[in-house]
Subunit: 140 residues, 4 copies
């Protein structure tokens, strides 16, 4: 299966569909069933004490799987998240961006499942692990 | 076990610790191991098409369990989310606030588990279901 | 929506389709989107020390949601579990059966989501909480 | 961190602590924070139609994380599963054993998190993905 949207196409899609958050994210690499992206951590993602908020980590995992699915099936999809599971394992490093590495474990006709590991830039130990299921509407 | 923080104390805590988001939330009721709160849905919570974003729903579930735990153990805690699982089941009704009903199923010495049902105000069918585990640091 | 399979029909289905485990389970009540059933705990469900094994608890939650779905859509379905999340919260009471109370939170055309609370018979505090998603094949 | 229990030590532990199921499992490799094991699929693991039962897959994931934790901390632990999340993605191949590849993403003082990929022997596509949290009792 070939990649239908490359990094530039995914950035254009993000800017068109999610203009309010597109500048927070940088897609770094897209391969078959794999995508790596970065959250540019800014003040709006932080909690008191300097840690990155849970919703910001959730959002990063969610958009990583969404873009990994779109990269494979093209931009017309209206896929929706049906299930998300996250393990928060370590405090992110202060002042570092977060990197999400997504792997699509299943890309079926109806359901897609993506697995995401998130770490602070330059650190090997994972901050969080997530798996998300997307429902793909018929006819897309 | 008695409730250690009532609605007013929880609001004061939110405003003090999470000033950037406190005005989004209204705690409506606190009982032993139960808490009901509302997300005042505003433009910042919406996705194109008017639906409420996944991170906003995650944040609501997360804060509901956090406050339900603090209501029982008091404001000194530094509890952190270790696991979150969400099922997204229906599109929220347009123009409606979201209501989260949280029940603490376990409040142990080390771990607390909360179950959350989220629905659009005035609608019975759930928009989402979530369960979250919080790790409670020793000595709190 | 009316219940299409009552307790007797569900027992007959279990005995026909899952003869090797049917005698472990007793469906106690079926209502619209709700089902209560019991695991007759026997030596095969126990771990050293007398606790009930995790796989036995998983199996109880899984079959409870499966039967709750079939009760609503009828016996022809070939629904399969796509996601299961369990929180194990307390050690089951020794020598007691387990009771599972299942509620279907969603019964869509493609996906069904069930929530299950499991407790030891005669004890209020939950042993485990589970949510499971079933994929319903088209045309059923 | 060095491995405290090798393949032979883990097999001896399984046979001593879980004699009723030990012969179902073969630990194939143990490395730092990694473990690969096999479920010898037999008639007791099958559902009508020849597919492997959900509880058998759950059990394999659960024991893989358990043994991966013990391999690192030694045999004295009384770790218990507190959370398990599974995505079931494909039907296992008929007549094949299942292989579980476990990676410990966190091995903390109180909590351990393991990620497991399960596939049919000789097939690359995953049958299931699981993540499990174990609570490690103090003093071990």
């Amino acid at each position: 299966m070939t990649v239908k949207m490359d990094v530039a196409a995914l950035h254009a899609f993000l800017e068109s569909e999610f203009p309010q958050v597109a500048s927070d994210y940088v897609v770094e690499e897209v391969l078959e069933n794999r995508l790596r992206m970065r959250l540019r951590v800014g003040p709006g993602h932080l909690r008191p004490g300097g840690t990155i908020s849970g919703p910001s980590i959730f959002a990063l995992a969610d958009v990583a799987v969404y873009l990994a699915v779109l990269a494979m099936i093209g931009p017309k999809a209206l896929a929706v998240t049906t299930n998300a599971t996250l393990d928060f394992m370590r405090k992110p490093a202060a002042g570092c961006d977060l990197i999400a590495e997504c792997e699509l474990l299943k890309l079926g006709r109806v359901l897609a499942v993506g697995d995401v590991r998130i770490h602070s830039q330059g650190q090997a130990a994972p901050v969080a692990r997530a798996s998300l299921t997307y429902s793909i509407p018929p006819g897309t």
